[in-house]
Point group: C2
Chain length 213, copies 2
């Protein structure tokens, strides 16, 4: 037990340095993954790009799969709060739709490599990474369902229908993100994708307003 002086600086120069090279490994891997997939990425390739010796890799990750899981956490971990805030913010349907699409668009604009990684490895060749992404997306769906349940017009929905709708929304946003990636840097093409995404959401919202038929 630490009955030490109680200083605030717990970091330690050593651990900080370690975290820095760990981060440079993650960055290097992410950059290399823009043009190939994780199962084709070599350990030496990554360490070379990160500027360290190959064997130093093992100080941070057991595997490339291990590194991949860390990348998933980095890509998706901080997003839950954002999504939750966005959903809770507005009640008006049209505003909610516009805000959600804008959120996805900004995510793709600001972190294209992360999004590309997720799209690629969601069904990729490395099981632990696949499962990490899938689990994270499931968590998103549950959170979205919880927010949907707070809307008055969903008060009489069955729980499973609510989850179905939430998962549908999540899937729509994921495919929107990949479509935005595929559209590339062309602003006009990106705007077309966003507009189509909004229309899709409008259609689904319209359907759910008349549910269950």
């Amino acid at each position: 037990m630490s009955h030490t002086t109680g200083s605030a600086a717990v970091t330690g120069v050593r651990q900080a340095r370690k975290r820095r090279t760990r981060q440079s490994l993650l960055d290097a891997a992410l950059a290399l993954l823009e043009e190939q997939s994780l199962s084709g990425l070599g350990l030496r390739e990554v360490t070379r790009a990160a500027g360290i010796a190959p064997t130093a890799f093992y100080r941070h990750f057991r595997d490339m799969a291990d590194l991949g899981v860390a990348l998933v956490e980095e890509s998706l971990g901080s997003l839950h709060a954002t999504v939750r805030a966005n959903l809770a913010a507005t009640v008006d349907s049209e505003r909610r739709i516009a805000g959600t699409v804008e959120l996805v668009a900004r995510l793709v604009r600001e972190h294209p490599a992360h999004v590309r990684f997720l799209a690629r490895e969601r069904h990729g060749g490395v099981r632990p990474v696949r499962e990490a992404i899938g689990g994270e997306l499931d968590r998103f769906a549950v959170e979205v369902a919880a927010e949907l349940a707070r809307l008055p017009e969903a008060s009489d929905w069955r729980r499973e229908d609510l989850l179905m709708l939430a998962r549908l929304y999540v899937d729509l946003m994921v495919t929107t993100a990949s479509a935005l990636l595929a559209a590339g840097p062309d602003a006009a093409a990106g705007e077309r994708v966003e507009e189509e995404a909004r229309r899709r959401l409008r259609l689904v919202a319209l359907g759910s307003r008349h549910w269950p038929g």
Copy 2:
């Protein structure tokens, strides 16, 4: 006796043999791709599994990317007619929905490796393969839109809304296919996925019946 001059055999023993080993290359690659992705698959690995010498690979494909494109064609090429027939068959909405989901389910059941390959390489690390899959899916969307246009209730739809709806349907079926793969061989889990897919389609059909709001 054996060498009848006017035989109908247009194939030729030689070309037939070549096609057979080409096919065994495709089969071997597909089998190996169940547990990794194309950009991590080695030429030697494939030829070893196919039972031929490494250099013989070049007699059939220039690249692994080339082989991948051939796999896309094999996986998706024959599907257009099936989809078209399925859509044209029934007019009743509920029957159409059930039939479509059943078609996807059967596809996954009968050709799981092909479907897995498509899901994996749709956003995978090999550009030509990505583009081949994307182009094929676009063609599907156009075909679906053409079939939708024949329905009386869609007579007053704008062309772009029709395409939006068609693309939505295609994306829904693609995500349904991956979900079925993820569900694995468990029949109960598969049935749950199918039921949710039907509900999704019902919701979308409901929304489109009230379009544009």
